[in-house]
């Protein structure tokens, strides 16, 4: 053998005989023990995705609506009534309305699916009553199919031009889409048919968005002074809270929201807005306390996660990850209705590019103040120029929200 052909290892093996064998054996033992440890850990590691069969019969495996609850029983009665007479449209409408009501109360989209199922046998009726169309429109709107909703409402209003619910829903959806002229037309028609409070609730948001915030505010406040019914008052308080929130009048907004939530603790929409206010003020602890127990509600658990992040809580990461898993599942099923929430989570995680993508996706479908804000916030950090539509919207509407105007001005300067 030449020097080159001598392997270093064989040199060692030839010079020190007993020791490397012991070292080698020890190393092997350590290796085998380590592999054993890894496998033991692995075998006992239960992943959440593993399917299990519980061992104990009294282990609770799922929470479902309790049949002992009055509301669930009422739904069951209506469902049975509709099943007994499948051609009875009135029963189907009652059932659908009850399901829609349940979906609003519980924040559960399965109830909307049940409402739609109640109405689907009548989808091919030659003569579709406007009531049916309006309920269908409500379901479509809740799933963010705004064009579908408007189509149904237009047909409903053709039949019954004085349908209060149709006018109100139509005004809402036109406002969301940014067609304020059409929305106002609906509100004007409404004004002739309903109380001044409903009329104010219809037109004030449009006024606020289109540069008439002061008029909107005074209208709502004068209505609030006269309103007696709880439902009226909580609606007006919520609207006032929302408007003063965007005008950054923190104290007024806080007062309005507090009253609204106290009057109607089940109003998740107002609660979510109130949490947004507290988060903006940096009062993350108060925001967290407001929403933490509503873990089944997507909108409120979003605010809880954002509050947890602001507070630096240890469960913030898990909360945000759970939300994102929900978003992924939603997209997997072909829905894209959580784009605004997705944008907020991406912003909280510092991923402004993805936040901007989601915010623009949301803006394409709905032109609300929050969507505008998210586009501008995401763009500010990522220096992109895709915000032109939002800037144009701000200019055309004259929306007076100071924060949005600031963001827009800053973006305009950096271009």
């Amino acid at each position: 053998m030449t020097g080159r052909e001598v392997d270093a290892r064989s040199t060692i093996a030839n010079t020190r005989v007993g020791e490397p064998a012991r070292v080698g054996r020890a190393a092997r033992v350590v290796l085998i023990a380590t592999v054993g440890l890894v496998l033991t850990c692995g075998l006992s590691a239960s992943s959440a995705r593993d399917a299990i069969r519980p061992r104990h019969g009294d282990q609770v495996v799922a929470r479902v609506p309790a049949r002992s609850s009055v509301r669930v029983q009422e739904l069951e009665i209506l469902r049975r009534a509709a099943a007994e007479a499948p051609d009875d449209l009135a029963r189907a409408l009652r059932l659908a309305r009850a399901h829609i009501e349940a979906s609003r109360r519980e924040g559960d989209p399965r109830e909307l699916g049940a409402a739609e199922a109640a109405l689907s046998p009548f989808a091919r009726l030659a003569d579709q009553p406007s009531e049916l169309r309006v309920l269908r429109a409500t379901i479509l709107q809740a799933r963010h199919d705004f064009d579908g909703s408007l189509a149904e409402l237009a047909l409903a209003l053709e039949q019954t031009p004085d349908d209060l619910q149709a006018l109100l829903t139509s005004a809402t959806v036109w406002t969301v889409k940014g067609d304020y002229a059409r929305a106002r037309t609906n509100c004007l028609a409404l004004a002739q048919l309903s109380s001044s409070a409903i009329s104010a609730a219809c037109s004030a948001p449009i006024d606020a968005l289109t540069g008439n915030a002061a008029r909107a505010r005074s209208l709502l406040e004068s209505e609030l002074a006269q309103a007696r019914a709880v439902a009226e008052r909580s609606l007006l308080l919520s609207l006032l809270g929302e408007q003063t929130y965007w005008m950054r009048e923190w104290e007024s907004a806080k007062a309005f929201f507090e009253q609204a939530v106290a009057l109607d603790p089940d109003d998740r929409y107002t609660r979510a807005l109130y949490a947004d206010l507290l988060l903006d003020q940096g009062a993350a602890a108060a925001a967290y306390d407001l929403v933490a127990r509503f873990s089944a509600d997507d909108a409120l658990s979003l605010r809880a996660a954002l509050a947890a992040k602001q507070l630096g809580r240890s469960d913030a990461g898990t909360r945000l990850e759970r939300l994102q898993q929900g978003f992924r599942d939603s997209r997997l099923r072909g829905d894209a209705i959580h784009t605004r929430e997705e944008a907020r989570v991406w912003l909280a995680l510092g991923k402004t590019d993805r936040a901007l993508d989601c915010a623009l996706e949301s803006w394409a479908v709905q032109h609300e103040a929050w969507d505008a804000r998210l586009v501008l916030e995401a763009a500010e950090h990522s220096q992109q120029s895709r915000v032109a539509p939002v800037l144009a919207w701000l200019r055309e509407t004259g929306f007076e929200a100071p924060y949005l105007r600031e963001l827009a001005a800053r973006l305009g300067k950096s271009k």
């Binding site: 070292v23 019969g57 799922a62 609003r104 109100l168 969301v176 998740r268």
Partner: protein, 372 residues
């Protein structure tokens, strides 16, 4: 409720519904189907919430569904589910069966996982899935269907307006075994970490001093003996764990196994440079081979093969792995044996090669730990 109050309550609904995202989640099921020539297997995840809606499983109505309440009606659940799912051929329907269900978590809560097997008549290339589940109760229900076919994998949605799906099956006359053998070969040849592990084990074998003494035949014999020991140890180990995992007897999550495999490659490669384990490395090959077997099995489970135990499939897959391995050994060892005295082999291939393998596998280790 007066008309006005009704309008108010709906008004509240109207304003809130337009802006906030709904809570909970709409109703979905997740159906995975693996379509091989011999049979169709799969699993169907159905939300317990949906099963309760359809069947009122919560017997005492207290809102807490217990395992006792569910398992008491397990048969009803399975029958109800299968009554709304059909796999059809032009000739006649396949016979769909399920075994014991288990529970699994999805983002909106617990689901029942129903394992599925379908016996389909031979000779039919086209299968149609007909899905009728829950639309009568929930018109917005969707099925997320993942179909694993012979040559591709796809995910599709079924909903109330679109309830059927066409699946392709390889033409009859093709036993599933050959295709699984091919799969096995593909997985070892395509699994760079497995290939590099094997090579790292084999690189120094031809450099043993015993190979330099004795006659030509004795030298070859010595080389073969070492190769045989190491390769057999690796084979036995990974076949063992592949079998355990494939039959569902023992599984290890990928987030633990994948980094462990990367580490094993690094260990084997580093041992070539700084020998720790001594001359007889077959026990090292065995211990680390156990990890690789679990790695192979994840390929099977990704393909939707359930713990229902397709022993024949498993054996065919393993055979494929061994054939692939044999190919590597037959290609590498003779060449290495012939080149073993060259500086090129000892330095470039053995040392630099081992170093490169070590660095690559450490990079994998870093990556895979990050993903876990």
């Amino acid at each position: 409720m007066s008309a006005r109050a009704a309008a108010w309550s709906l008004a509240l609904c109207v304003w809130c519904a337009s802006t906030s995202a709904q809570a909970h989640k709409p109703s979905d099921t997740y159906l995975t189907l693996t379509v091989l020539a011999g049979q169709v297997t799969g699993q169907w995840d159905i939300a317990l919430r949906d099963l309760d809606r359809a069947l009122s499983l919560d017997a005492d109505g207290d809102g807490a569904l217990t395992w006792a309440e569910l398992s008491r009606r397990e048969r009803t659940v399975t029958d109800y589910a299968l009554a709304h799912l059909a796999l059809l051929t032009p000739a006649r329907p396949c016979k769909l069966e399920s075994q014991a269900l288990a529970l699994v978590e999805h983002s909106d809560g617990p689901y029942a996982r129903l394992p599925l097997t379908a016996q389909c008549p031979q000779g039919s290339e086209q299968l149609t899935l007909n899905y009728q589940f829950l639309f009568d109760i929930d018109a917005q229900h969707r099925a997320v269907v993942r179909v694993v076919e012979a040559d591709r994998e796809r995910t599709l949605l079924l909903h109330a307006a679109s309830r059927t799906l066409t699946l392709a099956r390889k033409p009859a006359g093709n036993d599933s075994a050959p295709s699984m053998i091919v799969e096995g070969v593909r997985h070892i040849l395509g699994g760079l970490d497995h290939v590099l592990f094997l090579l790292a084990l084999l690189l120094p074998v031809v450099l043993r001093p015993e190979l330099e003494t004795g006659s030509g035949r004795a030298r070859i014999g010595a080389a073969l003996r070492d190769v045989f020991k190491v390769v057999t140890a690796f084979t036995v180990a990974h076949s063992l764990t592949l079998g355990l995992a494939g039959l569902g007897i023992a599984t290890v999550p990928a987030r633990i196994i994948e980094p462990a495999i990367a580490a094993s490659v690094a260990i084997a490669a580093l041992d070539n440079l700084w020998p720790m384990f001594g001359k007889d490395r077959w026990s090292v090959a065995f211990a680390l081979g156990l990890l690789h077997g679990f790695g192979f099995s994840s390929a099977l489970s990704d393909g939707g093969l359930s713990a229902g135990g397709l022993l024949r499939t498993l054996l065919a897959f393993n055979l494929g792995v061994e054939l692939g391995q044999l190919a590597i050994v037959l290609l590498f060892v003779p060449v290495a044996f012939l080149l073993r005295r060259a500086w090129f082999y000892q330095f470039v291939v053995m040392r630099c090669g081992s170093l490169a393998i070590a660095m690559l596998s450490l990079a994998w280790l870093y990556e895979r730990i990050g993903e876990g």
